[in-house]
């Protein structure tokens, strides 16, 4: 025993030889330090993990929150009957064919005092509003032909570059030739802003628009719907299949070579790079089964196979953690094996199953590579009405926007990521609630 002063009055060394050993203060201090250190490690680990999360989210949100706002310009547009409907027949087809862009441009020239005879000036002014303005005006006319001949104040979308400039993504201080926005345009923008004819508002188009080659009109509708279909398919297939497979392997399968092979095989599937699943999907679902390319059904099936190993592994792990005495208790009152599993083991392993499912889903919702092989990395304009129609998915949209050249897509990329993270957060909160309901200690 060391001679160091004893640090606890508990250690009254009354019961000398044998009993005093716990008062080895050096050892005790070491153990206590060990304990503190261990807890600290845990805290540090959590702190690290959370700070990664915060940093990642921070950068994404910093880059992306502006995507939820959009610059528009208010123009007094004269719906000139001579321009729109020269014959005066109000024929829908004729109305659709009219040159609405011109109406907007003319309103703009008036607003800014542009000299219509200078081609350069005209072009510079035209570049302020979105090329999509014609669809907007056409839709207005189509829904209410009575506005023909009147002048309406219309908020039209500013072009991507103007939007980026208004959000400070293009540096005003740069020399003109290095900017997408000329000095002339800047002065116009300043003028519009000063007069209140240029404002930022919430960008509903981000959710309702489909793919577009211009950042200001590009939206996530197709991707959201595609991801929704995919997730629906993945949840409906991978959870029952995965849980069933795990139950079979853990509770019913005889322990032998074959189950070993299956076990290894499932673990192995989890390591197969996701693009290989894409190859599989291409070979099996598209070439063999004849399902259409680019369809979210195929995407869902491929990601189901991709998610399955995760669900199976997590489920098996939590099934093994259920103590055998619970199974015995059930069998002892005359429950069959199937009953004991479904009545007792499964409910007890639900938290683990939920975790596995969530991790699998979270992984599936962020997957791009396999979708590349089955044609979902695509430009899709039409909103899919069923899982058999061409669609994209959120991560794919993020991937495609990330590789776009235009400045406006940079914030769109981050904005779409925020949307994805929002969905993840919702899924996680759901899982949290479920897990809480089923968690038990015994």
């Amino acid at each position: 025993m060391s001679a160091v002063a004893q640090d606890s009055s508990m250690s009254d060394s009354d019961a000398a030889e044998t009993v005093g050993r716990f008062d080895n203060p050096a050892l005790m201090r070491r153990r206590r330090r060990e304990e503190v250190r261990f807890q600290a490690y845990g805290l540090i680990a959590i702190a690290l993990g959370m700070s990664f999360l915060v940093i990642l989210f921070g950068t994404i949100i910093r880059d992306g929150w502006t995507a939820f706002f959009q610059t528009s310009i208010e123009l007094p547009i004269k719906f000139d009957a001579a321009e729109i409907d020269p014959d005066g027949t109000r024929n829908a087809n004729a109305l659709a064919q009219a040159n609405y862009q011109k109406l907007a441009n003319q309103a703009l020239y008036g607003q800014l005092g542009v000299d219509p005879s200078s081609r350069a000036q005209r072009q510079a002014a035209n570049a302020l509003v979105s090329r999509d303005v014609d669809s907007q005006l056409r839709a207005m006319v189509a829904s209410d032909p009575k506005i023909i001949g009147t002048t309406q104040n219309v908020w039209v979308l500013a072009s991507g570059n103007v939007d980026a400039f208004a959000k400070g993504k293009i540096d005003r201080e740069l020399p003109q030739e290095n900017r997408q926005i000329s000095d002339q345009q800047i002065s116009w923008i300043d003028k519009l802003t000063a007069s209140g004819a240029m404002e930022k508002s919430f960008n509903t188009g981000l959710f309702t628009n489909t793919a577009s080659s211009q950042p200001e009109t590009a939206g996530l509708a197709v991707a959201l719907l595609g991801s929704f279909y995919i997730m629906l398919i993945v949840v409906l297939l991978s959870v029952p299949l995965g849980v069933a497979a795990a139950i079979y392997l853990e509770e019913f399968a005889p322990r032998n070579r074959i189950t070993d092979i299956i076990e290894v095989n499932i673990n192995n599937l989890a390591a197969v790079p996701s693009i290989v699943f894409g190859l599989l999907g291409l070979a099996v679902f598209i070439n063999f089964a004849g399902l259409p390319r680019s369809a979210s059904l195929v995407g869902g099936l491929v990601l189901t196979l991709r998610t399955l190993p995760t669900v199976i592994i997590a489920t098996r792990a939590s099934i093994t953690a259920v103590p055998p005495s619970i199974r015995e208790a059930a069998l002892g009152v005359g429950a069959s094996k199937v009953q004991s599993v479904f009545h007792h083991v499964l409910p007890l392993s639900l938290p683990g199953i939920i975790t596995g499912t969530i991790i699998g889903l979270v992984q599936a919702i962020g997957e791009t590579a396999p979708l590349l092989m089955i044609g979902m990395v695509a430009f899709v304009v039409d909103v899919p009405s069923s899982p058999l129609d061409p669609a994209t998915a959120l991560p794919v949209q993020i991937y495609m926007w990330a590789t776009e050249a235009e400045r406006g897509f940079v914030e769109k990329t981050a904005g779409a990521t925020i949307v994805l993270l929002g969905i993840l957060a919702v899924m996680n909160i759901l899982a949290m609630v479920l897990r809480k309901r089923y968690e038990r200690k015994w």
Binding site: A211, S294, M373, V377, A378
Partner: protein, 336 residues
């Protein structure tokens, strides 16, 4: 199927998108085509997979179809393929907007990136570590160039129009050819073998001088911003959309632009194609219309949205020929 399906090059993808979008607006009864991006090779592979409703109708490509690919096509029953060349893609060199200005000659690139260069009439391992050593007019930056990875069609153009040209200009090619001949390479193969050797890129210093980029130009841009003293290779369209971040270098004294490229003054560019499956015309609604719409003056003309985006338009004569080809659906003759 009531919708055209397209796949292929990611370089052509942005152009195809713009056309697809406008196509739908211009044709009320027809749906917008679905355009996939996955690389020319992947696109052509699907394209040559056969005819049928479940196969794609058009393949975009940033290079010409290869002989082997055409053979596969024929073998799979895709006999008649219409080749449509719709414009050029300029390839530019750029550094960070606040960085130094570069005025390249092809030989500068060769001297910077080749594994062996000519010094005093002899081939030696490339000793150049900084751009200043390559060319005294350049700043003292370490040689760090982000060049397209080997999977990119751009790489081929870079090698052919820059490295091999530089190789020839510095006289390295001759030395290499001599060396090959001495090593016993057959006479008729020496030329191509030497050209191939010229296209090699140095790998010394852990490969930090020439860094392959497999991703897109956004990746190159990100890397450039992470390391401001470096040079990247971009497409003209990408550069034009990012002039506030990039400073373009001249090649042979010519600044790259739509005009200089279409006039042929700027040397580094490549044609862009798409291929139409003739068997699907008349079966898939909108296919022929799409192809015609694509090559119309409204799209690929000098004032069209593609040029606005950065496409180098075809010279008028070529454009006219292409329109003819599309109209008559003239199939591509077997390549030699």
């Amino acid at each position: 199927r009531d919708q055209v399906k397209i796949a292929g090059s990611s370089t052509v993808f942005p152009y195809a998108k713009i056309v697809a979008e406008n196509f739908a607006k211009a044709n009320a009864g027809l749906k917008a085509p679905v355009v996939e991006s996955g690389g020319s090779g992947a696109g052509l592979k699907q394209f040559c997979d056969g005819v049928g409703e479940d196969k794609i109708d058009i393949a975009n490509s940033s290079r010409r179809i290869k002989k082997g690919e055409q053979e596969t096509c024929t073998k799979n029953g895709v006999a008649d393929v219409v080749e449509v060349k719709f414009g050029y893609d300029g390839i530019v060199f750029a550094s960070d907007v606040k960085g130094a200005a570069f005025a390249y000659e092809a030989k500068d690139w060769f001297n910077a990136l080749a594994p062996e260069i000519v010094v005093d009439g002899k081939l030696v391992a490339n000793p150049n570590k900084t751009w200043k050593e390559v060319n005294a007019a350049f700043p003292e930056w370490e040689v760090v160039a982000y060049i397209p990875g080997e999977k990119h069609g751009t790489r081929e153009v870079f090698e052919e129009k820059v490295l091999v040209a530089g190789c020839k200009a510095t006289g390295a090619e001759k030395l290499i050819a001599e060396k090959l001949q001495a090593a016993g390479t057959a006479e008729d193969k020496v030329k191509s073998a030497a050209e191939k050797a010229c296209a090699k890129v140095r790998k010394d210093d852990g490969g930090k001088h020439a860094i392959d980029i497999d991703g897109d130009y956004t990746e190159t841009l990100a890397r450039l911003q992470a390391n401001k003293e470096s040079i990247g290779v971009f497409g003209l369209a990408f550069y034009e959309n990012n002039t506030d971040k990039l400073r373009v270098a001249t090649v042979g004294g010519v600044t790259p632009s739509v005009e200089t490229i279409s006039s042929g003054k700027y040397p580094v560019s490549r044609p862009l194609f798409f291929y139409v499956k003739k068997a699907h015309v008349g079966v898939i609604p909108g296919l022929k219309e799409y192809a015609e719409f694509f090559v119309s003056d409204k799209m690929i003309g000098e004032d069209g949205p593609l040029a606005q985006y950065g496409l180098v338009p075809l010279p008028e004569a070529e454009a006219k020929a292409v329109r003819e080809t599309v109209k008559d659906l003239k199939p591509l003759a077997p390549l030699s």
